[in-house]
């Protein structure tokens, strides 16, 4: 059972091979067993999960179920969940009970999914290793001594350890794709504006986008179908029709033009990662794709551009945490300034403070033009590079990360080393493009991911390319040995 994909589990529920309550119980038992070792969740909502599963079973029995009815899900703890603690992995929100649901949560609830709990993450989604969480690091299910990536490290680790068939996630500079790659699962960041951000705690508003982490591209298509679409409550939501992603999976790959991102196959890329990514490319060629090398000369400036734009927006977004209306408040403030400064100092961790201060500086008088406007101009150049590339090819391909997962604690002392881990993923955020990462093999016993980037709103094309690859390979079906035991929902012997 644990080996099954969302698509297979949904079919099993439809065929009444097991009930949603049985499935939910089995996953809750797995979570309980895994939590001490992986720390993938911040909050487990067992009671409400079983109640939701019982409702889903009624819909399944009544024949009114949709494609996702009864399927267990974990939400990244950046999505507001009504009546449930929503922490963003920060001390600032460690006792915040959201008064409302994020649109993503509402839509997936309406689709019949059953929330098992809230996934751990980097604090306010700022990090690439899940080590900045106030609730402690997440461990990679493939090797507890290495990081799962971040910021959606809990979501990726949970799906990799099969604690749920899917988990929501968010991506500002690679926070879906990078952990998906390091944990050996499938992760898609849709086009900017494709999925509503209402109720998704803001980090960098011109970059943030919600997506999903699953076992397969087919699973991602099924989930995105339910998540995507216009939301009047998000002013950046795109009023663009949602195509039938599941139907698009069948698109033949013959003649698909894949561009290899020249700049991302150079210095810094581990040879074993490059080898596996090139093997994946060869698979797509066998499936009929044509390949061409494409140069995006401004792309190497993605990281410095991001580390101006994202902190600037973060410093502005996080100004709302003032200790007054919600969030942590210090004891005995002597005046209003003291209330602000100590509440924020106590509520935020070191990486969040570092980004708030970086952003405050680049937006301050005298530095705005030199840093912020300069970065926005370089962002335009990077955007133009992508636009030109998509005149020549249908998709762009690169590694997702330069190396496999690194050791816990290995990069925490130097922010720059940590930031450079997102070197291949940030470009898609700057240009607002959809991108995904899928597993393409193992190096040193750890998973490697390949990234595909598409033009705006080409999620269907990306998923079709990924699905075509996953029909030829089984890397995405590999689960870490320690967490791949079978379990049988509904039997007492289940959930070993």
């Amino acid at each position: 059972m644990a080996e099954k994909t969302l698509a297979e589990l949904a079919a099993g529920l439809k065929a009444r091979q097991y009930s949603s309550v049985e499935l939910t119980q089995a996953y809750l038992a797995r979570i309980e067993q895994a939590q001490p070792a992986l720390n993938a969740l911040i909050t487990v909502t067992a009671e409400s999960a079983l109640a939701a599963a019982a409702v889903a079973d009624q819909r399944l029995a009544a024949g009114t179920a949709g494609p996702l009815t009864g399927v267990p899900i974990i939400h990244k703890d950046i999505f507001c969940t009504a009546g449930v603690r929503t922490t963003c992995a920060s001390n600032m929100l460690s006792s915040f009970i959201s008064p409302y649901d994020a649109t993503v949560v509402t839509r997936l609830k309406d689709a019949g999914t059953v929330m098992l709990g809230k996934a751990n993450m980097d604090e306010f989604a700022m990090g690439s290793s899940n080590e900045t969480s106030f609730f402690g690091p997440v461990h990679n299910p493939w090797d507890a001594k290495v990081v799962p990536g971040g910021s959606s490290g809990g979501s990726a680790a949970a799906v990799a350890a099969r604690l749920a068939p899917l988990a929501t996630a968010t991506d500002t500079g690679g926070s879906i794709r990078q952990p998906a790659a390091l944990c050996g699962v499938t992760g898609i960041k849709p086009t900017y504006g494709r999925v509503s951000r209402y109720g998704m705690i803001a980090y960098a508003s011109s970059l943030d986008q919600a997506g999903v982490i699953t076992v397969s591209a087919e699973d991602a298509a099924m989930t995105l179908q339910a998540m995507a679409g216009f939301d009047p409550r998000d002013s950046t939501s795109a009023d663009v029709p949602v195509p039938d992603y599941v139907a698009e999976l069948a698109t033949p790959l013959k003649g698909m033009r894949i561009g290899i991102l020249k700049e991302f196959f150079g210095e810094g890329l581990a040879p074993e990662v490059e080898g596996l990514v090139r093997e994946a490319l060869a698979t797509w060629q066998r499936l009929g794709a044509t390949v061409k090398e494409i140069s995006l000369p401004n792309l190497p400036l993605s990281v410095p551009t991001y580390y101006v734009v994202a902190p600037a927006e973060c410093s502005s977004n996080l100004a709302r945490f003032d200790g007054v209306r919600f969030g942590h408040r210090c004891e005995n403030p002597k005046d209003l300034m003291d209330l602000y400064k100590r509440s924020r100092a106590e509520g935020f961790g070191p990486e969040v403070k570092r980004r708030i201060m970086t952003g405050t500086y680049v937006l301050s008088a005298g530095y705005y033009d030199a840093y912020y406007l300069k970065a926005q101009r370089v962002r335009a150049l990077i955007n133009e590079d992508f636009r030109r590339a998509f005149g020549e090819v249908d998709l762009l391909l690169s590694p997702t990360t330069p190396t496999v997962a690194f050791g816990l604690g290995e990069k925490t002392s130097d922010p720059i080393t940590m930031y450079l881990n997102d070197i291949y993923t940030i470009g898609a955020n700057l240009a607002g493009l959809p991108a995904l990462s899928i597993p393409c093999g193992f190096a040193r016993g750890l998973p490697v991911g390949v990234q595909l980037i598409g033009p705006h709103f080409a999620e269907g094309r990306l998923l079709a390319a990924a699905h075509g690859y996953q029909r030829e390979t089984d890397w995405h079906l590999r689960a870490p040995a320690a967490w791949s035991q079978d379990f049988n929902p509904g039997t007492k012997a289940g959930a070993k």
Partner: protein, 96 residues
């Protein structure tokens, strides 16, 4: 580029963050390194380039009709505040 401890104190004040004395050199060092990385942007020729604020060029921020769309849920919202009284948020006295 290198930021001085004094600059860090001033940035922290603007950001409304209280820093401990021992944190100041740590942030001075790491922010200086970040601005070293950011300095790479000087390589790009951007004289005639319009700044890009938003990834979807053709999209404008919508305005909705000026009509009430939600009900008053003050009590629910104030459950997350640490100090409220008679429906008001409490802060230290600001008027002498």
């Amino acid at each position: 580029m290198s930021l001085s401890p004094k600059q860090i104190e001033s940035i922290a004040h603007l950001a409304r963050l209280e820093l401990k004395a021992e944190e100041i050199p740590v942030y001075a060092e790491s922010l200086s390194r970040i601005f070293g990385l950011v300095g790479e942007l000087d390589r790009a020729q951007t004289a005639h380039v319009e700044p890009m604020a938003h990834p979807l060029e053709d999209q404008v921020q919508r305005l909705r009709a000026d009509e009430p769309t939600s009900i008053n849920q003050r009590d629910l919202y104030q459950r997350n505040a640490s100090q409220v009284e008679d429906g008001l948020y409490l802060v230290p006295k600001v008027i002498e």
